[in-house]
Structure formats: structure tokens, C-alpha cells
């Protein structure tokens, strides 16, 4: 067993997940062999998770600038201007591997991490969203995983007092051995009060705030860059425990420190703990640090420099401050009941040096670890465009049975059992929460509406990563339109298998191009995000899952958007009568045909329709939902909360494509008769088909004289509740 200060060798490097080439590169850049602690730091910062070594060159494709962009990729989170001197600060991040090992703590600490990324920018978190992917619910442990993840997200967000207002939950056997937990946080800050994680000013002090350091999660960063095998269990010791109470105190203390101008720079200790925060801060600030590791508050006896640098204990921050402010800072932390300790200082020159009990622990140049970290142009094989699907014959088909099946599936059923475990009203600013097409909150003290949504149709992405990713961006825009919001920025979380597999790398490259093109065509910049590779178990990769998080703005909220039918509403379809059944949920779930071409979005048509819907919703004229997963039939059922509806399949329309088709700019609108002229004027030229009227206590679909479907409100509620009922049991 080597000691922290013993010289490392190739074998240790391989142990730490570095390749032989990387080991040589390391020794070369250092001009000497590192000790074990130094190797650990390199391994963590050069891990895929921290270095983005396989993805960086491709992420360059993203449009990251725009008139509203205040901070693009490169900081803890991105920031865009939302008017009246406010900025929205947001980012999405994955916590997939930890959540598979210990769902409750894994998901909880994922939420903690993304909150810190946002409030370290000086922003107050105002909402959380969570995009989740699970395997086959019959698979071993799967219900346990769903339950643990949902409770973990809820308990953490609820306790810190940030509402969880949106997200996704979907299921596919490809995730049975590797679930996805992507958490997004949106915060708000005054534009002139934004903070950056740039260590500056030699002589300034380096302070440690928050929980004491234990041995938790050592190697977390390298684990997240490692595929699972049957021995996943043995990775268990690296699981961390979250403490939302301390996180809440950190939020309040840090925002107070920043508001009082006492912080020069601030950075959370996320993946790779003190190592990444110290070196990233130094790199961004173009300076060095001196740290006395003996002053790091510890929870356990005899922790070595290796452990102190690599521990991933949660709820910890690194802060740079002027010497004269230290006393006041410590006083504020003490008032909030937080541990704080002065552990070092900023130095000129690009080196981070640390001592421990008087002896030198390590001394490393910053550049090789951060800016000069390895970058790979991994070989990739772009996916073949999926082949067209021959539609089955629908003659004599029992569509009612199909609708029942769709509504009863966990994919398309209600997610209430999940979001009822999330606080949706804390903050007293929620205009639209889970269950709405997108989340909408008021910026404190204003009437500015801040909207957010997460989207990814992984089935489509598995058929065509490029078009699927592009469609995710477009769907996000449609969702925002339904709350009257205009897109202002995108964050993303790119979940894929091993980048060392050219096919997976090809999916990644195609998806990134799809996101980039869609964002460019819609004029929405990407300002932050995260890449999660190695999502596979025993060589089985997940579906390519590029999750899109989109943020939008309503300059002045005057009406609360609604999403359910009211008695007497006129019900109309904006957009083409037919959707496209190719690559649809309907074929997947009712015909077991996960196949077909995923159309590339018609950006012009999508923009035009979104514009119209946005206007109608802002004026409070209509209730709107976009038609996506499962098609119009599912949207009709979703809008039947307390009032039913009777609609007719338009003359000569193909019932299947009308009811179950997807893709393209289609929205279901509901509005009082008296608004009809105004609505017709507003849609200016776009196709608008009147389908029927809302009323009664059932969803009825007629084809001429024939009644295709009759579902009472009670039946709908029952069906939509089925999929996740197990979450309602204790």
C-alpha cells in the first residue's frame, strides 16, 4: 500500500484510470515523476468528467453568443439577460452513476451540486427541473431506483426551499443497467452583481466554507468516467451523503457575502473536490494558490493530503477574499452556523502548492492540469439515417384500445406521483408548475416571467441522433410558447455511452450537430451544459440522450396560462391536421415498431407557429398544449381535467395520423367562443381546424357518425395514474 507522498509509477496511473500515453504526457509536462497525491489530482482533472477531453472539440459547434448572452460556457453556469437589469443563470448536470449505486443520495447530491453551480454565480436559485430515464420497471431494483431517485430529488430541493417545477420521466430497457438523473437549476441575479470563479490578487486569502471534509466520494470523478460492470457494487464506498440543511445555510451565507462585496471569487467543490475547485479557480484567474491542508476542517482522523485533495464531501465552497475582509466573512459564516477556515492565499505565478503539517504535499503547474489537459479527436462513425417504416394497415383497428394503452403506459401517463413529492409553491412565485407545458415563475418583485423546460425524445435520438436532437430543441421552444415565453438560452446534458466506441462517438457528434443547427436556426444560444459519457453496463450503451434545457422569458405576465378545458371552450388544432407516424410513440407502444425516419424540423414553420401561440397565451385568449409524444389523443386526455370534450376527426383525414401522429408545429388550442374572432385573426394564415367543443364529463372522439372513443374523466384519471401507481404506496 503506497503512501500519499510516495513516487507514483505507471501501474498507479492505470489504477487511476489514466492511459499509458496520458501517464507519459503527465511525466513529461511535469519534468519529473509525481507523487501519489499529484497523480490523484491529475487523474481527477484529466478524467472525462472534468476535462471534457473527448467532447470539447465538438462542443465548439454550439452557437454560444447573442445579444442577451452575459456568460456563455466556461463558468459554473451560463447567464442571459432577461430585462430590467436581471439575468437568468442556469445549467444542467448529470448524476447518473452515483444514482444507480445509491439512488436516494445520488440524486440528492446531484441536486445539491447543480444548485451550487448556480448560486456561486451570485444568483438565487428560483427553480429546479429533473430529467430522468429509467429501465424496464419489471427489471430488478428498478422500482427501488425510481422511488429512491424521486425521494432524493424531492427531499433535497424541498429542504433548501427551491421549487422543482418541471422535468421528464421516461423508461426504456436500455437504461436498466444505467439510469439517467439530469438536474437543472435556474437562478436569477442582478446583471451587475454576477460573480465569477476567478482567483485573483496575490496576497488575497483562500477560505474554505461549509461541511467538514470526510473520506466520501474519493475517486468520484474517475468513477463517473468509468463504465459499469457486474462489480458496480464494489464502487459503493465512493457514495456521498447530502445535507440540504447545510446547503441552505451555504446559499444564504454565500449570497450575503457576495451581496456585501466580501467575495473576490467563489467556486463550489464539486467533482474532484478541492482539486478541481483550486486548479480551475487558479486557471481562470491566471494565478497560483498556496494551501495549508492542515487547516482544512476534517470530519475524520488521519486524513492524508491525497484524501483531502480528492474527497468529494458535499456542501463545501472555496472562496477568495481580501485579507481585511476575512474577519467579517468568518463572522457571517459563524452566524449561519457554518464551518469556515482560512486555508491559504493567492500567489503570483501559475503554480498550486500545498503543505501539510509543515511538509510539502505537492506543487503543480496549473496549465497542464486544466487548459493543457488532453483533448481527443476520437474516431467516430456517423449513424446511418434510419430507413422509412411501412405503416401497418389500420382498417378495423380498435383505436380506443390504443388510446387506453398509451394513457396507461408509464411513458405517457401522468407524472403526478413523481411531482407531488416536490415542493411547487415555495418562493411564492410559481405561475405554472409541473403538469404545465413548461414551468413559469415570476422574477422576485417584478412581473417578468421566467420559463424553463427540459426535453429529449431518446427514442427518436436512437433512430437518428441528429434529427432527434434537433427535434428536442424545437419541442422545448413549443413548450415555452404554451406559457407565452420566448426562448433566450439553452443548457444541455449529453448522456451517451463510451466515447471510445466509434459508433457511440458518432451518435454524440451527430447529436451535437443537431443541437447546434437547431439552436442556430432558432437563434437561441447554448450557454452551459454538461457531458456524461460511459453510460453503459457490460458493453450495453444507453440510448443517445441529449437532454435539452431551455429557458424563456415573458416580459410582462398579465394572465396565468391554463392547460385544461373549461366548459364551452372551442377546441381547435393549430397546424397540420396530420402528424407523422414515423418514429412515433404510437408505433413503438401499440405496434412494437420502434422505427421510421425522424423528420428534420421545418424551422420556419415552427417559429411562425410558436410566435402565434406565444401571442395568444400572453393575451390570455387560449389554453394551449403542443402535440408531441403520443400525439393529439394524449393531449386531448391531458386537457380533460374537470371538463370533458367531444371532437370529430376532420373530413377525409387519416384517423391514425390525426390522433397519433407526431412532429411538426401542431398545437391543441381551447378558448371561449367569444375569443374565436380574435384567435382566427391572430393565427394569420396558419392552418386552424375546429375539432369540437369542451363540455360534459368524457373525452369523445367521433369519425362521422361513428364514435371512435368514449372515455369518462374518471377512466382517464385512472388510466393516467396506472403507470406510476407504485410510487404512491409508502
Amino acid at each position: 500500500m503506497k503512501r500519499w507522498c510516495d513516487p507514483a509509477e505507471l501501474a498507479d496511473a492505470l489504477e487511476h484510470g489514466l492511459s499509458e500515453e496520458e501517464w507519459q504526457r503527465l511525466v513529461q509536462s511535469l519534468g519529473r515523476t509525481p507523487n501519489l497525491t499529484e497523480l490523484g489530482i491529475f487523474a481527477a482533472l484529466w478524467s472525462e468528467h472534468c476535462s471534457y477531453k473527448s467532447s470539447r472539440i465538438h462542443l465548439k459547434a454550439f452557437p454560444t453568443t447573442g445579444p442577451r448572452v452575459v456568460q456563455g460556457p466556461g463558468e459554473n453556469a451560463g447567464a442571459v439577460d432577461i430585462g430590467e437589469g436581471w439575468v437568468a443563470v442556469f445549467k444542467m448536470e448529470s448524476h447518473n452513476h452515483p444514482s444507480f449505486i445509491e439512488p436516494y443520495q445520488g440524486a440528492a447530491t446531484g441536486v445539491g451540486g447543480i444548485l451550487r453551480d448556480v448560486f456561486t454565480m451570485g444568483a438565487r436559485p428560483v427553480m429546479l427541473l429533473d430529467s430522468l430515464r429509467f429501465g424496464d420497471l419489471q427489471a430488478p431494483r428498478m422500482r427501488h431506483l425510481v422511488d429512491g431517485v424521486v425521494r432524493g430529488i424531492g427531499d433535497y430541493g424541498n429542504c433548501v426551499g427551491v421549487p422543482t417545477l418541471g422535468g421528464e420521466v421516461d423508461f426504456h430497457p436500455a437504461y436498466s443497467g444505467n439510469i439517467l438523473v439530469n438536474a437543472m437549476c435556474v437562478g436569477v441575479a442582478r446583471r451587475d452583481k454576477l460573480f465569477f470563479a476567478r482567483a485573483q490578487g496575490p496576497g488575497n486569502r483562500v477560505l474554505y466554507l461549509g461541511s467538514k471534509t470526510g473520506r466520501d466520494g474519493i475517486h468520484g470523478a474517475t468513477m463517473a468516467s468509468d463504465t459499469f460492470d457486474e462489480s458496480a457494487g464494489e464502487k459503493r464506498p465512493t457514495v456521498q451523503v447530502g445535507d440540504p440543511f447545510t446547503e441552505k445555510l451555504l446559499i444564504e451565507a454565500c449570497l450575503e457575502l457576495m451581496d456585501k462585496g466580501l467575495a473576490v471569487a467563489i467556486q463550489d467543490m464539486g467533482a474532484a473536490g478541492l482539486s478541481s475547485s483550486a486548479f480551475e479557480m487558479a486557471a481562470r484567474g491566471g494565478c497560483g494558490l498556496f494551501l495549508d491542508l492542515s487547516r482544512v476542517p476534517v470530519r475524520e482522523e488521519g486524513m492524508t493530503p491525497y484524501e483531502l485533495m480528492l474527497s468529494e464531501s458535499q456542501e463545501r465552497m472555496l472562496l477568495v477574499a481580501r485579507p481585511e475582509d476575512v474577519t467579517e466573512i468568518l463572522a457571517i459564516c459563524h452566524r449561519w452556523g457554518l464551518d469556515a477556515s482560512d486555508i491559504g492565499e493567492v500567489v503570483a505565478g501559475p503554480t498550486v502548492t500545498a503543505t501539510w503539517n509543515g511538509e510539502l504535499a505537492f506543487s503543480l503547474p496549473v496549465a497542464p492540469l486544466v487548459d493543457e489537459a488532453p483533448r481527443y479527436e476520437r474516431p467516430f462513425k456517423l449513424p446511418q439515417p434510419s430507413s422509412p417504416v411501412t405503416l401497418p394497415s389500420f382498417s378495423g383497428r380498435d383505436f380506443a384500445a390504443d388510446v387506453r394503452r398509451l394513457l396507461g403506459s408509464p411513458h405517457l401517463g401522468s407524472k403526478r406521483a413523481v411531482y407531488e413529492q416536490y415542493d411547487q409553491t415555495v418562493g411564492a412565485a410559481t405561475v405554472a408548475g409541473p403538469g404545465a407545458e413548461a414551468a413559469l415563475v415570476l422574477v422576485p418583485g417584478t412581473r417578468i416571467g421566467l420559463a424553463a423546460t427540459t426535453d429529449c425524445n431518446a427514442l427518436a435520438c436512437s433512430l437518428d441522433p441528429y434529427a432527434g436532437a434537433a427535434q428536442a430543441v424545437v419541442e422545448a421552444m413549443r413548450n415555452l410558447a404554451c406559457v407565452g415565453a420566448e426562448p433566450v438560452g439553452v443548457t444541455d446534458c449529453l448522456n451517451f455511452g463510451s466515447p471510445e466506441n466509434p459508433t457511440v462517438m458518432g451518435q454524440f457528434v451527430a447529436a451535437v450537430r443537431g443541437l447546434a443547427d437547431a439552436c442556430a436556426r432558432l437563434g437561441v444560444p447554448v450557454v452551459s451544459g454538461n457531458v456524461s459519457f460511459y453510460n453503459e453496463t457490460s458493453g450495453q450503451a444507453i440510448l443517445p440522450t441529449p437532454t435539452v434545457g431551455m429557458v424563456g422569458v415573458v416580459p410582462q405576465v398579465r394572465h396565468r396560462p391554463r392547460f385544461a378545458f373549461h366548459e364551452g371552450d372551442v377546441v381547435a388544432l393549430l397546424g397540420p391536421v396530420h402528424g407523422d407516424l414515423s418514429a412515433s410513440r404510437y408505433l413503438q407502444l401499440c405496434w412494437d415498431m420502434a422505427a421510421g425516419v425522424v423528420p428534420t424540423p421545418d424551422y420556419g414553420a415552427e417559429r411562425a407557429a410558436a410566435e402565434v401561440v406565444r401571442t395568444l397565451v400572453r393575451l390570455g385568449l387560449v389554453a394551449a398544449r403542443d402535440v408531441s409524444d403520443g400525439g393529439l389523443a394524449v393531449v386531448l386526455a391531458e386537457m380533460c381535467e374537470t371538463v370533458g370534450v367531444t371532437v370529430a376527426v376532420p373530413e377525409g383525414a387519416s384517423t391514425a395520423s390525426f390522433l397519433f401522429g407526431e412532429w411538426g408545429p401542431r398545437y391543441l388550442l381551447a378558448f371561449p367562443e367569444e375569443f374565436r374572432p380574435a384567435v382566427e385573426r391572430a393565427v394569420s394564415g396558419l392552418p386552424l381546424s375546429f375539432l369540437g367543443k369542451a363540455g360534459g364529463d368524457a373525452l369523445v372522439v367521433r369519425d362521422g357518425e361513428r364514435e371512435l372513443l368514449h372515455l369518462t374523466l374518471a377512466e382517464i384519471a385512472e388510466l393516467r395514474g396506472q403507470g406510476l401507481r407504485f410510487l404512491e404506496e409508502p
Partner: protein, 78 residues
């Protein structure tokens, strides 16, 4: 048969609850309390009269449900 299960966090696993309790006890004048860790005490009433068998079953139940092997240790007392 009455069985008692004691569940406690593994050493080294953070116990935020215990830590919060310790701080408050200190404020209430119990500064002499150096550390607090909180575990679970589970009282079971189990059918069966063969103590060995009952203990085995309860141990299985602990592994399956009552304790979280990732962060907790357990102890069964018959």
C-alpha cells in the same frame, strides 16, 4: 417472538442529523457532548419459536429492506 434490530450509519459516513443535534445541544449548554450519531431501533414481533431461524429471517429482511447496506450496518438481537 420479540426481535430488536439496531441500524447505524457506517463509521465515516456523514451524519448531518447527528451534527445538527450536536450543535444545538452545545447552544443549549450541553457543550460536553462531543459527537452525536443517530441510528434506528426497530422492534419486530415475529411468529416462530426457533430463535436461530427467526434471526436468519430477520437478517435477510435487514439486507433486503430494513438497512441500506451502502451506508448502514445492522445488528439483530433476539
Amino acid at each position: 417472538m420479540k426481535v430488536e434490530v439496531r441500524v447505524r450509519l457506517k463509521d465515516g459516513v456523514l451524519d448531518p442529523q447527528g451534527e445538527a443535534i450536536r450543535r444545538v445541544l452545545g447552544r443549549l449548554g450541553y457543550g460536553e457532548v462531543r459527537s452525536v450519531r443517530v441510528g434506528k431501533l426497530i422492534f419486530l414481533d415475529v411468529d416462530g419459536d426457533d430463535p436461530e431461524h427467526v434471526r436468519k429471517r430477520v437478517e435477510e429482511a435487514c439486507r433486503e429492506l430494513l438497512a441500506n447496506p451502502v451506508i448502514e450496518d445492522f445488528e439483530v438481537k433476539t
